[in-house]
Amino acid sequence: MGEQTMLKGDRAVAHSVLSAQPDVVSAYPITPQTGIVEKLSEMDANGDLRGQFLKVDSEFNAASSCIGASGAGARVFSATSSQGLKLMSEPLFTASGMRLPLVLAVANRSLSGPLSIWNDHTDAFAERDGGMIQFFAEDVQEAVDNILMAYRVAEDPEISLPALANLDGYILTHVKEPVEVPTEEETAEYLPKRDPHATLDPKDPKTMGAFARPEHWTETRFAVHDALLRSKETIGDAVEEFADQFGRDYGLEWGGLLETYGPEDAEIALLGLGSIVGTMRDVADDHPASVKVVKPRVIRPYPEEALREALAGVESVGVLTKEVSPGHQGTLAAELKSALYGSGHNPAIHSSVLGLAGRDVTKGDISDIIDEIVDATTAGPSTGVISEEDWPQLKRDMLPDEVTH
């Protein structure tokens, strides 16, 4: 097992990428991801990264060159955030349809406008329907480890899809934590050399990215859908073998798809993604009510069955989410509702949109949300009625009159 070192999140992720020795790295700087690319550039400059490092003109071509390289059979890496992920979006959607494995670290950041460089999950959710696997990390160690697991799953010939390894911008990229960075030897043992099933090989010509008419397109999309569903099992295996080799357990009990914390028979569950979960754990420990924390590790594939099981006994769920689908609601809550519909278990769902564009989520914020849930629960047994969406950090007095009247 490797030693623990104090490392900034972005640097630690770069070390993890280095251990996987990608053949082609292609990236473009954007805050707060830049540190990952800078560190990889330094590794390249020192001859440690033995692949090709493409200093491209934009994220659009970072993604495009990763697609070309992956098509040729290479192991590829890129990293981005926010607007950069948006600029990658067009090619990224094709990567899943073409079944090309790519691994991207996404330092999550809000999307303009107004311009903001700080963290939330708007960027990741904007790519939700692209057919990409999406991991989320709670701390730097998980961000480091998710890179390796992302490669394992994305490059599995049975899956062969792009994967986003999300980590919260600043909160994880710019914080120093003690982490174990895998060595190249350790990673080589965990992550076999990529065995591409289709490559651009002049000796064996293939047509990739053909034009599909209505009689075939549906089946391509189904194949992506099916691979994503099947990837749940692959993720489970990847997490299990990771635990065996590295000794770190990422929700083995839940097939590696989520983690739970706190009393099994808690009445209240809090659901959240990424770094906010650490604070949720602390608040749950301190709060007099019986609260457990549920942390999905992936949003695609969607861990529907695991969520149903993890929430089986609870009366209420507080969903804390750093994104919103304007005109609807927080997507994390909307999707949870869809998972529970038809399950016969209808806990009240309190959805809180918070932490947008870097507004700090404090222990007090989370404690207040639990208090509200407790009040609602003691007012009467759950009627199964889903509560309204709430934006607990919204300062209404800052809004112009015409918005609030």
Binding site: L54, G68, P91, L200
Partner: protein
């Protein structure tokens, strides 16, 4: 006459060795389709093509069929050069790393990217600029049919002045497209491409020679091939090569090479024809001959050609 006399003759042309196969869905008389054939004939089978969205991609890859007998990838409209950069970089990495013995040597593979004028001059410009600036060992070939044909004949920044398209239609207040063709070869040369050339499907030997020559250079190289579109330019499908030839002979489409930034090998014209002879072959310019004031537009086109000819030393 006996039945034997009327039996169809044995086909004399075999397409077995074609790398761009017939059976694609291009219009009869499609200039760009000829370009695709000449490209593959010149590059041979050790080639990987990255193709932009457009007519030639759509007509050649209707799943589950494909016209391509070389390795071929299409991703989106704007990124053929970016994709090609990645393919090329992958092969470079395979060469430099251990454990990739099953892959061809980078030096033995011809990396080619193909896009229409829209993909090249407009939406894919950034991607191409990046590829050229980084000096990827890729030959970029723009097939220039002077418009967005796949989406129904809209103008591009390669559409000539005075041409009527669906987004630059001739009308009571308009003589069609009101901008001059963007000078892409100069842009490519200014990027430091060692080899830049223009070619025409009317001169296939010249075109293929230029491709072969380009491939001898390491790094990025750019060829732009004039390829008339019978549908978009509105001429009879039997006339493609004649129209392409007239483009060259009127100086509308000068043929030249830029090697190491220096203009060289201009295909000079001893008896440059007036541009009317070219314009009158195509429906997209018909309004210039029927509308009042059209002759002034033709004059403007001629002046532009004359200036260009002077710059290039086109006239012998």
């Amino acid at each position: 006459m006996s039945s034997q006399d009327t039996a169809p003759p044995e086909p004399e042309i075999s397409h077995d060795d074609d790398l761009f196969k017939p059976g694609h869905r291009a219009c009869a008389g499609c200039g760009p389709a000829l370009a695709m054939r000449y490209i593959t004939e010149a590059t041979g089978e050790n080639t990987i093509i990255s193709h932009a969205t457009g007519c030639m991609e759509v007509v050649s890859s209707p799943y589950p069929e494909s016209s391509w007998d070389v390795s071929w990838i299409h991703d989106v409209f704007a990124n053929a050069p970016g994709v090609a950069s990645g393919v090329e970089a992958a092969y470079r990495a395979f060469d430099e790393k251990e454990g990739f013995e099953e892959f061809e040597d980078h030096d033995d593979v011809n990396f080619v990217a193909i896009g229409g004028d829209g993909a090249t001059f407009d939406i894919g410009m950034r991607s191409l600029s990046g590829m050229m600036e980084r000096g990827h060992d890729v030959l970029y070939i723009a097939y220039d049919n002077e418009g967005y044909m796949n989406t129904g004949i809209q103008r591009s920044s390669s559409t000539p002045f005075g041409a009527s398209t669906t987004t630059s239609p001739a009308g009571s207040e308009s003589f069609g497209n009101d901008t001059q063709k963007k000078n892409m070869p100069a842009i490519a040369a200014d990027h430091g491409c060692e080899y830049v050339a223009t070619a025409s499907i009317a001169y296939p030997t010249d075109f293929k020679r230029k491709i072969e020559k380009a491939l001898e250079h390491d790094g990025a190289k750019y060829i732009q091939v004039s390829a008339p579109c019978m549908l978009g330019w509105d001429f009879d499908s039997a006339e493609t090569v004649n129209v392409a030839k007239l483009a060259v002979q009127t100086g509308m489409q000068p043929l030249f090479e830029i090697v190491d930034g220096e203009l060289s090998d201009v295909m000079s014209l001893s008896d440059r024809k007036p541009v009317e002879e070219y314009l009158e072959t195509q429906g997209r310019f018909a309004h210039l001959f029927s509308k009042e004031g059209g002759d002034e537009v033709i004059e403007e086109i001629q002046e532009h050609i004359d200036e260009q000819a002077e710059e290039l030393g086109l006239d012998r």
